[in-house]
């Protein structure tokens, strides 16, 4: 199960990267960035997953540390943190795109290249 998730995450990452490199529209670049981002979430959550395990809430009397199988909470915390970071970047990038559209009157990445050389 873990292996499958892992392969899926890597495939998703590569698809996102390929899409980003091939993209011509700024918004499409961001969408592909989102795909790459999701692959990191999938990887993190899959890494913490244990088959048949429960949440590590140790004040529940039914759950005994070291005996009841629990999932790895660190990875889930990391995934949450990554999601927050992703949202910040996405919001900033979208606002930059609005400004770019105003200045250049286009969203074509090949025509937004005043800085080069």
């Amino acid at each position: 199960m873990f292996f499958l998730n892992f392969v899926a995450a890597i495939l998703l990452f590569l698809i996102g990267l390929y899409g980003l490199i091939r993209a011509r529209n700024l918004v499409r670049i961001l969408l592909n960035l989102g795909v790459m981002e999701s692959s990191t979430y999938l990887m993190l959550v899959a890494l913490g997953y244990r088959s048949g395990a429960t949440a590590p809430i140790f004040y529940e009397p039914k759950i005994v540390p070291g005996i009841t199988p629990t999932v790895d909470p660190i990875m889930q915390a990391l995934a949450l943190t990554s999601i927050v970071i992703g949202v910040v970047t996405l919001a900033l990038a979208l606002s930059l795109i609005i400004h770019l559209a105003r200045h250049y009157r286009t969203l074509d990445v090949r025509r937004i290249r005043r800085l080069r050389g």
Binding site: F13, L17, L20, I21, R22, A23, R24, L26, I29, L33, M36, E37, S39, T40, M43, L44, L47, I74, M75, L78, T81, S82, I85, V88, T89, L92, A93, L96, I97, H99, L100, H103, Y104, V109, R110, I112, R113, R114, L115, R116, G117
Partner: protein, 597 residues
């Protein structure tokens, strides 16, 4: 717990607190915002200096957040692990940050958006200090995102300029990809070792394919921050488009964090015996950076882009020091990082003063400013001499240490690369100085220019004095600072032991013996003289009128121009191309790691 230990978080918390408090009390302290930032940075600097004594005796100070110290050899908590290497980079950040904030107080006069500016700058500095002090891979990733987002926003500080927005967007896309590489890399390392603490990961690291790919992705991601070729495309755009005090911070502190992290990965994460090929690859990367940065410097039109490409070349220089990996080379890299932070931020601020006073952004618009802005002229010229590594400047020290180390490692050809870097740097800078400060005024703006205000000149002068002090106390700096930074990187077991068990093995507390050449010793001046002659010659060739066609120099320069044109066309300006090179570079870095598994 000794008092110095618990002080470590304060170095991060004070600037972070300032960033959060500023918007709350901003309207009452309108004219004191820079003063507030300066005070908080001074406090942070004092905290760092108070940690200096044990750190510069070879210790690694460890602070466990909420006292979650490792139990049964498992480190679950987040640690701040301060050793000489991280401490030096944090100190560089504070110094450059201070100069940048003082400069900004003059630079931003007459502009709006001060509050946003200072909040973002404090967040940027906080992120950089946090990254340098943190001893946890995921914590480092979070700091990386904190300073990156602040840096993206600061690049776009002038949304009315199309170039700033364009640069910020390219910066954001390339560095987000780098951040994903880092994220995937540290996930693979967690899979390999079941830990995220740097020391714990290093202890349990098994050189499996997954682990090696993880390290490769980390190094690739951090190389984007360090702006090495072929990850460097964001740098000239962002440095040229950002407000000048921010460019100084980028060049002085932000790209040094990339260097810090790359060196950490190479020496602390990868077990010894597995990183030789990677280090050789880094020497190749460094040589490429010097070449690309140097050639690109010679045909730039924008003033700040010249300095930005010089930063690419200098980062190549530093990564060669890391790649050589001997104590002398690492000490040289550490001292050269300090030198470059001081001098390059001074140069950015100096040329930024020209840009601000004349409103000219390209070389063609300035001219004849030596008489109108004499102090700026003297400071920029001094910075150029230091950057080219003339004796008695700070640049001489790092240059000679790295050259010596290259000779000891049997790579004599690297001294040629070092001399070449100096020649390109000097030629590019002399071209800038000649076009900006000599000749005729070319615009009305330049004709009416006058000297920059004192508050902008002071930090530049202070940084240049610092550079001179380093140059004159070569022996002391190497013994007390450089040697310990090299010691921190090389004693992997001591780092792991001090973080995981809290013990200091006594044999780890002796610095390697490194002897820098005395700056006054004329027998070592050969390379500097070569650089001086070559640099002046190259600058002359780039400035004089073209040779008549058919003569030999014409043909030679024509061929050289073709190479430089090819390099220029490589910087297409299309962000997806940059993303492609980013990935190609990272993929290529994984190869040496996989071979030497």
């Amino acid at each position: 717990m000794p008092p110095t230990l618990s002080a470590a978080p304060a170095a991060i918390l004070i600037p972070l607190g300032t960033a959060f408090v500023m918007p709350l009390i901003g309207r009452f302290v309108r004219h004191f915002r820079p003063a507030l930032c300066i005070a908080s940075l001074l406090c942070s600097g004092v905290v760092l200096l108070s940690l200096g004594d044990p750190v510069l005796k070879g210790q690694t100070l460890v602070y466990w957040m909420s006292s979650w110290a490792p139990r049964d050899g498992l480190a679950i908590g987040i640690s701040l692990s301060v050793d000489a290497w991280g401490w030096l980079i944090a100190l560089i950040t504070v110094i450059v940050g201070l100069a940048s904030v003082i400069y900004a107080a003059g630079y931003l006069r007459g502009e709006t958006g001060h509050e946003t500016y200072y909040v973002l700058v404090m967040l940027l500095i906080t992120g950089l200090i946090g990254f340098a002090l943190s001893g946890d891979l995921f914590n480092q990733f979070v700091w990386l995102e904190v300073f990156s987002v602040a840096a993206f926003a600061l690049t776009a500080f002038h949304p009315e300029h199309a170039e700033s927005i364009e640069a910020a967007f390219k910066y954001l896309i390339t560095n987000s990809i780098a951040a994903f590489f880092v994220a995937i890399g540290l996930t693979l390392l967690y899979l390999n070792t079941g830990a995220l603490n740097l020391a714990h990961v290093a202890r349990d690291f098994k050189p499996t394919p997954g682990g090696m790919i993880g390290v490769g992705l980390l190094v690739g991601g951090y190389a984007t921050k360090a702006a090495l070729v072929p990850w460097h495309f964001w740098l000239p755009d962002a440095h040229a488009a950002a407000p000048t005090p921010v460019s100084a911070l980028f060049s002085g502190a932000l790209i040094k964090i990339g260097l810090y992290a790359v060196a950490r990965c190479v020496f602390t994460l990868v077990p010894p015996g597995h990183n030789d090929l990677l280090r050789t690859a880094l020497i190749g990367v460094g040589t490429a950076s010097i070449f690309v940065g140097g050639v690109q410097m010679l045909h730039q039109k924008q003033i700040k882009r010249i300095l930005a490409y010089s930063s690419v070349a200098q980062m190549g220089y530093l990564i060669i020091g890391v790649g050589l990996g001997s104590p002398g080379a690492l000490a040289g890299a550490a001292l050269h990082a300090l030198h470059h932070a001081l001098v390059k931020s001074a140069l950015f601020m100096g040329t930024g003063a020209v840009v601000r006073q004349t409103d000219a952004h390209t070389l063609d618009e300035c001219g004849g400013l030596a008489r109108l802005m004499p102090i700026t002229f003297v400071l920029v010229s001094g910075g150029t001499a230091a950057l080219a590594g003339m004796p008695f400047s700070s640049g001489y020290l790092g240059k000679s240490l790295i050259t010596e180390a290259a000779k000891e490692s049997g790579m004599d050809w690297l001294s040629l690369v070092v001399v070449g870097a100096g020649i390109f740097t000097l030629a590019g800078m002399l071209r800038l100085i000649w076009r900006v400060f000599f000749g005729e005024h070319r615009t009305t703006g330049a004709g009416g220019a006058h000297e920059a205000p004192l508050i902008m000149l002071m930090p530049i002068a202070a940084l240049m004095i610092g550079s001179l002090l380093i140059g004159f106390s070569a022996e002391g700096m190497t013994k007390n600072l450089g040697a310990w930074a090299a010691h921190a990187l090389q004693n992997r077991d001591a780092y792991i032991g001090q973080v995981m068990e809290g013990t200091v093995p006594p044999e780890s507390l002796s610095a390697p013996e490194i002897h820098p050449p005395e700056p006054g010793d004329i027998s070592h001046w050969g390379s500097s003289i070569l650089i001086l002659v070559g640099g002046v010659g190259m600058a002359y060739l780039s400035l004089r009128k073209p040779f008549s066609a058919g003569t030999l120099p014409y043909t030679l320069i024509y061929q050289a121009r073709r190479i430089s044109l090819a390099l220029r066309l490589w910087h297409t300006g299309i962000v997806t191309d940059y993303a492609l090179w980013n990935s190609v570079g990272t993929a290529l870095l994984i190869v040496p790691l996989m071979i030497q598994r």
